[in-house]
């Protein structure tokens, strides 16, 4: 089975474990969502979502609670599948390969798609082990390279200087903001293609939030980031592209500046100006 990329080339089905299709930097989308719908039992949560998520950029998803942002995010790494009685239609392509295709193992997929959750959720382990868990499990690096990899991930997450002297202390002993950066480091240690962030700052104070936002700017050089946020300022500050979800539909998608200054849809305008939501 082969897949046609949007630039006309075709690539074969990758082997189970990794996605070897790493294209050079070019304006192909990292995620290509094609008419994706999702159901929890009989309730439809997403309706025919079509969007191309740009590579090496921060994409913010905004919208009122329950509009399907998180459901969408958790569809990309197929975490939704673990909930019984759910189904989907349509397709999501990661690097041109369907995440739902038979050859795609969800476990392998999740190594390519990092996720950071709303509540910081470090494992009850040492800081070092928290970050080392992914690479160790996935056999990404020989054992002797793990410390280097952990340091790299912690530096990327701007946490290294704060924890380098206490790597062997429990990760749960850090402050909330530090814990969240630890979770980001944990996700980055897998070197994912895409980093999904589900309201990563909603449990953090303004200072910690600012640090994460600064981090996003750094990270988008190497990663493609999709961030769900309830904070309009955060979306306008930290993202390059924004999508507005409403009642399970992606109402509008475009460059952040454009969406916030000249929204095409009146509901987008109503939401970003705070008239509902």
């Amino acid at each position: 089975m082969t897949t046609t990329l949007s630039d006309g080339r075709t690539v074969g089905q990758p082997p189970n474990e990794r996605f070897p299709v790493r294209l050079p930097d070019r304006p192909t989308p990292v995620l290509d969502v094609r008419g994706y719908s999702f159901w929890y039992g009989l309730t439809q949560a997403l309706f025919d979502v079509r969007v191309a998520i740009p590579r090496r950029a921060v994409t913010a998803l905004i919208g009122p609670s329950g509009c399907g942002k998180s459901t969408f995010l958790r569809s990309v790494n197929r975490l939704n599948e673990l909930i019984p009685h759910t189904r989907h239609s349509g397709d999501i392509l990661l690097e041109g390969v369907s995440v739902f295709s038979k050859g795609t193992d969800p476990v392998a997929l999740r190594r390519e798609v990092g996720m950071v959750f709303q509540q910081p959720n470090p494992f009850p382990k040492t800081i070092f082990d928290n970050v080392a868990y992914g690479p160790r499990l996935n056999g990404l690096a020989p054992k002797r390279d793990i410390p280097e990899r952990v340091e790299h991930a912690l530096r990327q997450a701007a946490l290294w200087d704060e924890v380098k002297d206490r790597l062997q202390t429990p990760g749960t002993g850090l402050s909330g903001g530090q814990q969240q950066r630890l979770c980001i480091a944990r996700a980055l240690a897998n070197e994912p293609e895409v980093l999904l962030m589900d309201e990563p700052c909603s449990a953090l104070d303004p200072g910690a939030t600012q640090r994460i936002e600064e981090l996003l700017v750094e990270l988008k050089r190497s990663y493609s980031i999709v961030i769900v946020t309830h904070n309009m300022q955060q979306a306008s500050r930290a993202s390059d592209f924004t999508g507005f979800f409403y009642l399970g539909r992606l109402m509008e998608f475009g460059p952040t500046k454009q969406l916030f200054t000249r929204p095409a849809d009146e509901r987008t305008e109503a939401y970003i100006t705070g008239r509902f939501g």
Partner: protein
């Protein structure tokens, strides 16, 4: 207004005193038992008691070393059989037991939990002792293991369910297969609690007598062979306490004290494990 406040305070005071008195009664039972055991048994506890085997009736100075060692072997073997099965069942129930099979397993575990231990003894006698042709410590261990499994399974299940869902998702999102998430993240996080549950279960079965009557039977000699009848502290107490000799009664009291002490130590150990583990995690 004042009358109402007075009434509230009165009711409050009465209820507090009532539940206080009830808990006092509960604690009193334990204190009385322990006190009685110490009063009756402590004087017989000496070096001989722990190191010597019984002497022929009429002589004095024997011990119950064979029963102490026997209890250790029977309970240890029971734990060896029962713990993996119980913990595995508990993990299954918590992680995958939402379907019909899970319901059945849970129901069976609950029924088994409430089954009188003597019934389990008869069951093992029918299926193990009779085919083998003789009583054995192994059969005793199996009977005790059967009693442990549902206890441990249900405790493990409850504790694993307490592990926050977000931790599970974090591991899955990192690319952990589901079984590995269950074992490495979920079970490890609940480990202290599971360990405590196991210690409590071991303490519970250490004092069981009825299932051993039909299985391990008892033995007046020192025996470490699990294929043969073996003495246990609880059997020893039963035999000595119902016997006609003062010397036996004396040893029965002392054995009861040792058994009680063992259970107490296990309970304290369980508490300690729970606290130190949780303390470290925070």
């Amino acid at each position: 207004m004042n009358a109402r406040r007075l009434r509230r305070r009165l009711v409050n005071g009465t209820m507090t005193a009532l539940v206080g008195a009830l808990s006092f009664v509960a604690v009193l039972a334990l204190v009385l038992i322990l006190g009685h055991l110490v009063a009756k048994g402590a004087s017989s506890l000496d070096w001989n008691f722990f190191t010597k085997n019984p002497v022929p009736t009429g002589e004095t100075g024997g011990g119950v070393a064979h029963a102490i060692v026997g209890s250790g072997i029977i309970v240890g073997l029971a734990a060896l059989i029962g713990l993996p099965i119980g913990i595995g069942t508990g993990l299954y129930l918590a992680e995958y037991g939402s379907g019909r099979l899970g319901w059945v397993v849970r129901f069976v575990a609950d029924v088994l939990n409430g089954t009188p231990s003597i019934v389990v003894g008869i069951f093992v006698w029918t299926w193990l002792v009779r085919p083998m042709g003789h009583f054995s410590a192994f059969a005793g261990s199996v009977a005790l293991a059967i009693l442990m499994v549902p206890m441990i399974a249900r405790t493990t299940e409850e504790l694993v369910r307490l592990v926050p869902h977000s931790l599970r998702e974090a591991a899955l999102a990192l690319g952990y297969p589901r079984w590995r998430t269950s074992l490495r993240i979920v079970a490890r996080t609940a480990l202290a609690g599971i360990l405590t549950g196991c210690l409590v279960a071991v303490a519970r079965i250490a004092g069981e007598t009825a299932p051993l009557l039909f299985t391990a039977l008892g033995n007046v000699n020192f025996n470490t062979h699990i294929g043969e009848p073996m003495e246990a502290l609880s059997l020893q107490i039963f035999q000595y306490a119902t016997g006609p000799f003062d010397e036996w009664h004396r040893l029965a009291w002392a054995s009861a004290l040792v058994l009680m002490g063992l259970v107490l130590v296990l309970a304290i150990l369980a508490r300690w494990v729970l606290r130190s583990r949780h303390g470290a995690a925070r």
